[in-house]
């Protein structure tokens, strides 16, 4: 376990070292939230509420989604693709740890870093600029914390899955890009799942995407009752478990393929 925690720490330090990234990151997240705020005000166009969500709630939703994204988001798929194409994975495999586990921990290190140095200061700034409603209810915050942790795992698992496909496709840049836009839309980052037509919503129930952004954001904006929140978290948890299966399966096949091709 120690080595995984060390990985989190190292990654944390690495993130701190890239300061251009840090400053521009805050700026860009700010602009993103700002632009979506105006986009949504325009969409509301004076209406009190859409689908039972008020403008203020919507703004809060957007802000919190982006801040949560800072935590769960990572580029593990791209990193893996690169390591695989350069043949570095073979080296990783002889190291005394689980490669996928190590990647996850790297992502977690990055995520924790962004949460504290990105999201918290960012949220504070956004709080003063835009009309946002924060709940100070401790139970909401703790449910939210639990939920974004599960978001992180679902998103990371999807990234690992995409990353592993590099073994089978020569160049999976396209797939990585496609996965990214799909997650942006269907996770509820760009707009709440409740805005979609009914039939889309019912399909979404059977997909893991809404566990990434929609669930934590709804919990935070109190769009869910406590009961609904627990049910949603339960669903997230189930997805985390289910996604282990294809990952292990593909990983097994990938390792076999690697033996044949020699990495």
């Amino acid at each position: 376990m120690d080595k995984y925690i060390e990985m989190i720490r190292v990654r944390f330090l690495m993130m701190l070292a890239y300061r251009t990234n840090y400053y521009t990151g805050i700026l860009i997240y700010g602009i993103n939230i700002g632009a979506y705020y105006f986009l949504w005000t325009a969409i509301y166009g004076g209406k009190e509420e859409i689908q039972g969500v008020s403008v203020v709630q919507m703004t809060t939703y957007v802000a919190i989604s982006w801040m949560a994204r800072a935590f769960y988001f990572n580029n593990l798929d791209r990193e893996m693709a690169q390591e695989i194409m350069e043949g570095k994975v073979a080296v990783e495999l002889i190291r005394p740890y689980n490669y996928l586990g190590m990647k996850t921990m790297q992502g977690l290190g990055e995520g924790i870093f962004r949460l504290f140095f990105f999201s918290l200061p960012g949220l504070l700034i956004v709080y003063f600029i835009f009309p946002i409603q924060f709940s100070w209810d401790l139970s909401v915050w703790s449910l939210f914390a639990l939920s974004i942790l599960l978001s992180f795992f679902i998103n990371t698992q999807l990234n690992l899955l995409t990353g592993i496909t590099t073994f089978f496709l020569y160049n999976n840049a396209g797939l990585i890009r496609a996965k990214r836009v799909i997650i942006d839309l269907f996770s509820g980052l760009l707009l709440p799942i409740s805005f979609f037509p009914g039939w889309v919503q019912s399909i979404m129930k059977f997909l893991p995407f809404q566990g990434i952004s929609y669930v934590p954001s709804m919990i935070f904006t109190k769009g869910f009752t406590q009961q609904e929140a627990w049910a949603a978290i339960g669903q997230q948890f189930i997805w985390v478990i289910i996604l282990i299966i294809p990952i292990q399966l593909l990983w097994y096949l990938a390792k076999k393929q690697m033996v044949i091709q020699g990495g």
């Binding site: 070292a17 521009t24 860009i28 105006f38 020569y170 396209g174 797939l175 836009v181 805005f195």
Partner: protein, 261 residues
């Protein structure tokens, strides 16, 4: 002339490599198409809840999106510099580039060519035709010419901004992920700028002029008189930003530290 002939040399090499990996080509087409569809879905879903966006109708917004796809496709085909930092700075491939008698930026652009992205232009034109016919837009004889002019202008705006972002690597000591993040911002140029406040509008017009890749030039074809002035500024902004980026590039190359030290 030499540069034009080099351009075709590289294209033919590119085609040969690409055809070796036909499966990837297919996946790429498909994923491009998917991301275009998803952006459309966003617009459709939003207009399921409202009729107007800052005074613009659904079909107008779709038309803007269709227009945006064309310069964006041109940009993606010719300015594939997302991995500039990793490939050329960290791995030091810029060393090789700099020992060849062609302008370094031109070589990097040529090596990154991804002609398959041009397919996005076809999707874009199809979307424009669909939205345009629903809006009952008429086409004048000069429209195609202006369209080409605006597309080139828009692609140059994009190219200029992303070349400038790539230049950061000449100074910054470590990798940055600014480019993918900037991609998000570039999307805001697809919506009418009048919905934003002054600051964001200013940024999208003069600092990161993504509005010139979408809403400004498209508004000309939509007959929105109040934006004509901006529409005709598109090629000017494109040339200015691209020239600035080349100047910055030339300056940055002097600061290049070399890899592996």
């Amino acid at each position: 002339m030499f540069y034009v002939s080099m351009f075709f040399q590289y294209i033919s090499q590119y085609a040969k490599t690409r055809l070796q990996y036909r499966a990837d080509l297919f996946v790429e087409f498909f994923s491009d198409l998917m991301s275009q569809a998803i952006n459309l879905i966003f617009i459709l879903v939003v207009f399921g809840h409202t009729d107007k966006l800052g005074g613009w109708s659904r079909d107008e917004i779709i038309f803007i999106y269709g227009f945006f796809l064309v310069p964006y496709a041109v940009f993606s085909a010719f300015f594939n510099i997302w991995n500039f930092n990793d490939r050329y700075i960290v791995k030091g491939e810029l060393d090789r580039i700099l020992t060849r008698p062609i302008h370094s930026l031109f070589q990097i652009i040529l090596e990154g060519i991804e002609l398959e992205s041009l397919l996005g232009a076809i999707t874009g034109i199809a979307v424009m035709v669909y939205a345009g016919s629903r809006l009952g837009l008429a086409i004048s004889w000069y429209d195609p010419f202006l369209f080409i002019l605006f597309v080139i202008g828009g692609a140059l705006v994009y190219g200029g901004i992303f070349v400038m972002l790539a230049c950061i690597s000449f100074w910054a000591d470590a990798k940055t992920s600014i480019m993918p993040m900037m991609y998000n911002i570039s999307n805001y140029g697809r919506y009418p700028v009048n919905i934003y406040n002054k600051l964001i509008r200013f940024v999208l017009t003069w600092i990161l002029p993504f509005a010139f890749v979408g809403v400004y030039p498209a508004s000309f074809f939509l007959g929105k008189n109040e934006w004509f002035w901006y529409a005709f500024l598109t090629p000017v902004i494109g040339i200015v930003f691209f020239c600035l980026s080349v100047i910055l590039w030339n300056y940055g190359v002097k600061k290049y530290r070399g890899a592996g030290n």
